[in-house]
C-alpha cells in the first residue's frame, strides 16, 4: 500500500512537471495570429502547399497555417458573427462566394493590391469579394480498360445505356445535373441557363434525368468517381477533371471527355474582420503570380487564372487543362449568379425527385 502511495506521488509530480514544461513551451498568447489559409484538402492542397504555402513562408518569413474544409460557409458565418475570425484566406466556389459576399461575410477586394484586374482572365473576377485562382471542370470520365473500342463522346452518349450498359455516376446535386441533362437532351451549351430559367425547361431536365435514373449511382465527394471507376462499380461517371488526371498519373487508363464540360472558378477570399488583412493580400498576390500558378497546375491540372500563367504552363500539361482552347468547345460556364437565385428551390425539387 505504501509503495502504491509513493508511486502515486511520483506520478503526480511527473504530471505537474510535464504540465509546467508544456506550458512554458507553448507560445504565449498574443494578438499576432499566424496567417491561416483554408482549402479543399487532399492531393490538391498538397500541390498548393508546394506551389504557394511553402514558397510564401520562405519568401516572407511568416508562418502559414493551412487547414482544409468542405466548402461549408456556416463556419465563416459563425466566425464573423462572433467577431472571432480565425481563418484569413479561404478558397471557395463561386455560388457560395457570391452568397457570402452579399451577406457581408467577406472583405471587398482591393484589386490594386493583388496585381490589378487586368492580370486575370475575365472569368476569374468573381464579383467584389473573390480573386479567381483555378478553373476546374465537371467532365465525363471512363475506364478505357473496361470500355474497349469506342467510348462515349458527349452527354448524349452518357445516356446511351444500350451501347454502353452499366451504372453511371453523377454528383448528387441539382448543380450541374440539370445542365448535364439538358446537354444530353440536345440543348446547345449557350442556351442551357435560358432554358432552365423557365418551368418547362426545369421539367425537361428532370424528365431527361428520369430516363437515366435506374442506371444512376450518386457521388458526393470528389474522391468517389475515380474509386468507382477503378472498382468497376460504374462504367462512366461525371468527375472533377483534376481527380481523374491524378488517377491517370497513378497509372489508371482513364479517359476524359471534354465535350460538354461544365467549368467553374474557385476563388480566394478574405474573411471579413481578418486581423491579418495585409498578409492575406500579400498571400493572394503571391498565389496569383504566373510562375506559382504554373507549379500548381503542373501538379493538379486545374486551369490557372493569371493571364500570363496560361503561357507559363508546361505545354505537355496544357491539353489537360479545362481552359485549353480545344477543351472549351461545347462547354458550359457554370452561371454562379443564376445558381444563387435558384439553388434552394431546385435543390428541394432535386431532392424530391431523387427520393421518388
Amino acid at each position: 500500500m505504501k509503495l502504491f502511495r509513493i508511486s502515486m506521488f511520483k506520478f503526480a509530480l511527473v504530471v505537474i512537471a510535464v504540465g509546467l514544461i508544456g506550458g512554458i513551451g507553448l507560445p504565449q498568447y498574443s494578438d499576432a495570429r499566424d496567417l491561416t489559409v483554408v482549402s479543399w484538402g487532399g492531393a490538391y492542397q498538397e500541390a498548393q502547399r508546394k506551389a504557394y504555402f511553402e514558397p510564401f513562408m520562405k519568401k516572407t518569413g511568416k508562418k502559414v497555417l493551412d487547414e482544409s474544409y468542405n466548402g461549408e460557409m456556416a463556419k465563416i458565418r459563425a466566425m464573423v458573427e462572433a467577431k472571432n475570425v480565425t481563418w484569413d484566406v479561404v478558397q471557395v466556389e463561386s455560388p457560395e462566394l457570391i452568397n457570402a459576399c452579399e451577406q457581408g461575410l467577406l472583405e471587398i477586394i482591393d484589386w490594386s493590391r493583388v496585381g490589378g484586374k487586368e492580370s486575370f482572365i475575365p472569368t476569374a473576377i468573381m464579383g467584389e469579394c473573390g480573386v479567381g485562382t483555378i478553373v476546374w471542370a465537371h467532365v465525363i470520365a471512363y475506364d478505357a480498360d473496361r470500355i474497349k473500342g469506342e467510348g462515349p463522346k458527349n452527354w448524349a452518349d452518357f445516356w446511351n445505356v444500350k451501347k454502353w450498359p452499366g451504372k453511371r455516376a453523377l454528383r448528387k446535386n441539382a448543380k450541374p445535373s440539370l445542365e448535364i441533362a439538358l446537354l444530353a437532351d440536345g440543348v446547345p451549351a449557350s442556351d442551357v441557363y435560358k432554358v432552365l430559367s423557365s418551368e418547362a425547361g426545369v421539367q425537361r431536365a428532370f424528365k431527361k434525368l428520369d430516363e437515366l435514373k435506374p442506371h444512376l449511382q450518386w457521388w458526393e465527394a470528389g474522391a468517389q468517381p475515380p474509386q468507382w471507376l477503378a472498382s468497376g462499380d460504374v462504367v462512366m461517371t461525371s468527375a472533377y477533371n483534376g481527380r481523374i488526371s491524378a488517377a491517370i498519373k497513378e497509372g489508371r487508363n482513364f479517359k476524359i471527355v471534354w465535350t460538354g464540360q461544365n467549368y467553374a472558378v474557385d476563388s480566394w477570399v478574405i474573411v471579413k474582420g481578418s486581423s491579418n488583412l495585409d498578409l492575406a493580400y500579400e498571400f493572394i498576390k503571391f498565389a496569383s503570380q504566373p510562375e506559382n500558378q504554373a507549379v500548381s497546375a503542373a501538379a493538379v491540372p486545374y486551369g490557372p487564372t493569371n493571364v500570363k500563367a496560361v503561357a507559363a504552363v508546361d505545354p505537355k500539361i496544357a491539353p489537360d487543362l479545362p481552359t485549353y482552347p480545344a477543351n472549351l468547345v461545347g462547354s458550359v460556364a457554370t452561371d454562379a449568379d443564376w445558381w444563387v437565385d435558384h439553388i434552394e428551390e431546385l435543390s428541394e425539387r432535386f431532392n424530391v425527385w431523387a427520393a421518388q
Binding site: A74, N99, E102, Q103, Q217, W218, D341, A355
Partner: protein
C-alpha cells in the same frame, strides 16, 4: 392522586436550540450542499446545451432581415391591403431603402430572405438596388421608375412576399418544415407536390429509426441474455467484444462498411465465389447498407441496458417456473420477458432517439432515397447558410423527440428505465 400533566415542552438540542430549528437548519445546509454539487453541471448544461437550443428555436421564428435593411419599406407596406399594386409611398420607400442598402452593401441580406419565398427575388432586389442608385434626378413617379427597371415589381406575388417578410416574427420556416406555406392572401396552404419534401423525409426518418431499433432488439436481446448468464470471466471478455466497436470512431466504422459491402467487396466476392450469385449485389448506397451500418453502430446502446437489467433477474425464477410445470417457452414469455421489460424499453428509446438524429452514416452509405432529416438540416446550415430553415427542421426533430419522451413516460414510465 391525580397525575399532573406536564405542559408539552419544546424539544431542544444539547445546546438549547429548539430541535425543530436545528433540524431545519441542517436540512437547509444539506440542500445547499446538494445544490452546490449540482451547480457546476447545471451551469455547464445551461451554457452549452439549453441556451444554444433556445437560440436555435428563436432562429426558426425570427425575421429580422427586412426590418434591418429596409425599415422604410417595412413601415410603408403595413398599410397595403394586398388587393392592388402598392402606391407611390411604398415605391418611394423601397427606392430609398434600396439605395441606402446598396451603399452599405447590406442589400444582399434582404435579397436572400426574399429569395426563400420566390426564386430569383434575390437578383431582382440586387439589380433594382443597383439601377435605383444610378438614378440621378428624382423621377416624377418611383412607381413607374421601379416597374420600368423590372416589371416583376408590378406583380402582386412579389409584394405579398415582401409583406410576409416584413413582420418581426415569421412562421415561414416552421410551415416550410412541414411542407406548408402562406399563399398570396396569407392563408396557410400546402406547397405544390414537386416541392413537398420534408413530411416525407420525416416519415422516412421515423420508419428507418423504427426498423433499426427493431433489428437492434432482435439481435441484441439474445446477446444480452447470454452475457448476463455467463460467469464473469467469460462474460467480461464478450462484453469487451461488444464495447470494442463502441470505442472505434463512428466514421471509421461507417467507412469500413462501404469497403465490406461495395461491389468488389468481401461479401460480394464470397457470394460470387460460392456461386450463390453470378453478378455482384448492390449492397451499399441503398437502404440495406444504411440499415446494416446503423444497426451495427447502435447495437451496443441496446445491449448495455438489456444486460444491466438481465443481470439482476435471478436465474432461480426460471427454474422455479420450470418446477411449476411451465415449459421453457412459456417460462420465458411469462417470467423472463416481463422482467426484462425495463431494459427493452430503455434500449429501444435510446436507440430510437439516437437513430432519428443520424446524419453521417446515411450520408455516407445511403442513396438519395435514404437520407434522414439531419441531412437536410446540414444542407441548410452548411450549403445555403439558411439557418432559419435549418432551425425550422431542427424544431421538428426536437419536438418529435419530446413528444416521444412524453408518450413513453405516460405509458411506460421513465422511472422504470434502467440505462446502466
Amino acid at each position: 392522586m391525580a397525575h399532573t400533566k406536564t405542559p408539552p415542552s419544546v424539544l431542544t438540542t444539547a445546546n438549547g436550540i429548539p430541535l425543530k430549528d436545528s433540524l431545519r437548519r441542517a436540512e437547509r445546509r444539506r440542500k445547499l450542499k446538494a445544490a452546490g454539487l449540482v451547480l457546476p453541471l447545471f451551469l455547464f448544461l445551461l451554457t452549452t446545451f439549453i441556451t444554444p437550443i433556445l437560440l436555435l428555436l428563436y432562429r426558426a421564428i425570427e425575421n429580422p432581415e427586412l426590418l434591418e435593411v429596409m425599415p422604410r419599406t417595412v413601415a410603408a407596406i403595413q398599410h397595403w391591403d394586398g388587393a392592388d399594386i402598392p402606391d407611390e409611398a411604398v415605391f418611394t420607400a423601397l427606392a430609398t431603402d434600396l439605395r441606402l442598402a446598396h451603399k452599405d452593401r447590406t442589400v444582399g441580406k434582404a435579397g436572400k430572405r426574399l429569395n426563400y419565398d420566390i426564386s430569383g427575388f434575390r437578383s431582382l432586389v440586387l439589380k433594382t438596388a443597383r439601377r435605383v442608385s444610378k438614378i440621378k434626378n428624382e423621377p416624377s413617379s418611383y412607381r413607374n421608375a421601379v416597374i420600368a427597371i423590372d416589371k416583376r415589381w408590378g406583380n402582386l406575388r412579389y409584394w405579398s412576399a415582401v409583406k410576409q417578410a416584413a413582420r418581426p416574427y415569421t412562421d415561414f420556416y416552421l410551415l416550410a418544415a412541414v411542407d406548408f406555406e402562406r399563399d398570396r392572401s396569407g392563408n396557410i396552404a400546402r406547397v405544390p407536390a414537386e416541392r413537398a419534401l420534408y413530411t416525407k423525409v420525416f416519415g422516412r426518418t421515423f420508419w428507418m429509426s423504427m426498423v433499426v431499433t427493431l433489428w437492434c432488439l432482435l439481435l441484441g436481446y439474445p446477446v444480452a441474455w447470454m452475457l448476463a448468464g455467463l460467469p464473469a470471466r467469460h462474460g467480461n471478455l464478450l462484453m469487451i467484444l461488444v464495447l470494442l466497436p463502441f470505442w472505434t470512431s463512428l466514421l471509421v466504422r461507417t467507412a469500413s462498411w462501404i469497403i465490406v459491402l461495395q461491389k468488389e467487396g468481401i461479401i460480394n466476392k464470397v457470394l460470387m465465389w460460392t456461386h450463390i450469385t453470378s453478378d455482384p449485389l448492390q449492397l451499399v448506397f441503398n437502404r440495406f447498407g444504411v440499415y446494416v451500418a446503423m444497426v451495427h453502430i447502435l447495437l451496443p446502446f441496446m445491449i448495455l441496458p438489456l444486460y444491466s437489467v438481465m443481470k439482476n433477474i435471478p436465474p432461480s425464477l426460471m427454474r422455479a417456473a420450470a418446477s411449476l410445470g411451465a415449459n421453457p417457452i412459456i417460462a420465458f414469455f411469462k417470467v423472463y420477458l416481463p422482467q426484462s421489460m425495463p431494459g427493452i424499453s430503455a434500449g429501444c428509446l435510446l436507440v430510437f432517439i439516437l437513430a432519428i438524429g443520424y446524419y453521417i452514416t446515411p450520408a455516407l452509405v445511403g442513396g438519395p432515397k435514404d437520407q434522414m432529416l439531419s441531412y437536410f438540416i446540414a444542407f441548410f446550415t452548411n450549403n445555403t447558410i439558411n439557418w432559419g430553415m435549418a432551425s425550422g427542421l431542427a424544431v421538428l426533430l426536437l419536438s418529435a423527440t419530446v413528444v416521444l419522451y412524453v408518450v413513453f413516460n405516460r405509458f411506460i414510465g421513465i422511472e422504470r428505465l434502467r440505462i446502466g
